[in-house]
């Protein structure tokens, strides 16, 4: 076979193997990204003018603020809860396997189902959660209907879905902590808390960073419970960016504004994740 012919057959083999997947990724991932940038900033107005329009929209600023505040509340909460559960469920307690499974099960529930069921559970005054509150003597709470409680309700719903998943990943991390390190700590007379803080936590840095980054991204994209239960309200208290993008594009029909929001959301996510990696993960490790 001549070089040219084998070159051609090599090229066609490569196209056969790589072509379909790459074409799909370009069509469904890269092209929409490029189109968003073009739609947002490719018009007659300058980039500065588009950004100024975003900045001048009180709705947009509120939505970014709500998204950042939500992110600041939910990520530490979920990770602390997942880590706490992971630690407790690696103590060789009786029934550990069943307990892990029970906490993991909500991961399987599709987001639309969890939003709907939690929407009913949080109903005022006749939902399940108010039922539990009244059984122990508390007043019924408005939850999703009150501006000061709605975002917290969304946090509870999202955490019910997500925490089991992060917990399982952290359990895998804890089980990978080298036994001899822990045994050495024990021989040196370090108590449980010192062993946990000085041996387990440093050894968990990589899984924790992964969980933090993945959790942050997932929560920046939270959409389903907002769309189904609060539509951003009451008083804009749950108007997270993903929902605002959807509303700008499909309720108000302002495509350019929505596209600009998409670009801002992606940048915001990249900055926050970049900061997290910078602070928590030395570069040679990533």
């Amino acid at each position: 076979m001549s070089d040219a012919a084998s070159g051609r057959s090599r090229a066609s083999t490569l196209t056969l193997f790589l072509g379909p997947a790459l074409a799909l990724l370009v069509i469904t991932r890269l092209a929409p990204f490029a189109v968003s940038i073009k739609q947002a900033f490719g018009g007659d107005e300058s980039v500065g003018a588009v950004l100024a329009a975003l900045w001048d929209s009180p709705n947009f600023i509120d939505s970014v603020g709500t998204t950042l505040w939500f992110s600041l509340l939910i990520n530490p909460f979920q990770i602390a809860l997942a880590l706490g559960l992971a630690v407790v469920l690696t103590q060789k307690l009786p029934g550990t396997g069943i307990l892990r499974t029970l906490i993991f099960i909500p991961v399987a529930v599709p987001p639309a189902v969890s939003a709907i069921v939690w929407g009913l559970a949080l109903r005022n005054p006749d939902g399940l959660v108010n039922g539990v509150l009244s059984a122990v003597g508390f007043e019924p709470q408005p939850f999703l209907l009150a501006p000061e409680q709605a975002l917290w309700s969304i946090i509870v719903i999202a955490s019910w879905i997500g925490v089991g998943y992060w917990m399982v990943l952290l359990i895998a991390g804890i089980q990978d902590v080298p036994r001899d390190l822990l045994e050495a700590g024990l021989v040196d007379g370090a108590g449980w808390w010192r062993r946990f803080w000085h041996i387990t936590v440093p050894a968990l840095r990589r899984p924790l960073l992964f969980v933090l980054v993945a959790d942050t991204v997932a929560n920046f994209l939270l959409f389903v419970p907002v769309q189904l239960l609060t539509r951003g309200g009451p008083d804009g208290s749950t108007n997270l960016l993903m929902h605002d993008i959807y509303r700008q594009a499909f309720v108000y029909g302002d495509r350019q504004f929505a596209a600009a929001e998409v670009v801002v959301l992606i940048l915001l996510m990249m900055v926050v994740v970049g900061v997290q990696m910078r602070l928590l993960g030395p570069e040679e490790d990533l």
């Binding site: 790459l22 799909l24 069509i27 407790v88 929407g119 005054p125 399940l128 594009a249």
Partner: protein
Amino acid sequence: MSAFDPYAARSTPVRALLFVAAVGAALLFVAPIIWIVSGALRDGDEILRYATPFQLRTVVPESWTIGNLVALVQGPFLRAIVNSLLVATVSVVLGLVINAMAAFAFATMRFRGRNLLFSVVVFSFLIPFEVLAVPLSEAVRAMELDNSYVALIVPGVGHGLVIFMLRQFFLAIPEDLREAAAVDGAGWWTIFRRIYLPLSGPALISAGLLLFLFQWQTYLWPLLITTDRSMDVAPIALARFFGQYDVDYGQLFAGSLVLSLIPAMLLLRFQRNYTESVSRTGVKG
């Protein structure tokens, strides 16, 4: 003290306390599931009537019935479940073949521009699909592909993370195997089909699970591109049901149960597989 265990706290009262905390947490996580199951198997009117104040009746039906499930499969929800199954199954089959082929090329072939093309793959999973769904849906509507199975399936087929995961797995397969087969005259396709795929069962299972869950749980994408009720996937049909003025809560809970049961069975069966491969690609790198 029995077996030596460096992980565990040792004093008995502390362990008892931890156990109580763990059981309490597990109950909180599982309570809504119990509510779904009992709601699906009772008369719809009972669900909220007994929700407050909390009592045994909240979770134990007055009378058990499968009427909700029967009514569900007689209504439009059946079509939605079939749509979801169809979309998810086609995506898994096509996605496994197409992503595994790309992963195989990245893992075994040397060619110019490989790193550049691979960075396209990495980039594609760093930017999550949800953010791109809105702009992509506009293109789909412009091409008049909305309300089609093609539009429902295509975004779930090419999956950067699956390519990445399978490539990691393929890289661990010894090169000697490939070279020996090549000496025997096997072409790339034979090597892929006869050597790489059979050795990659666990990786393919978790890749398949990832692809399945992506489609089974998707909500935003079908919301954007389907208006025709006959094209509803199950989560959308359930949400429409929920939005009706006069909701039949029994059927709503029955639908919730069916929608959750299918992925729950798959996840419980393959949980180890799934979390191990996610933690291998993500956590341990």
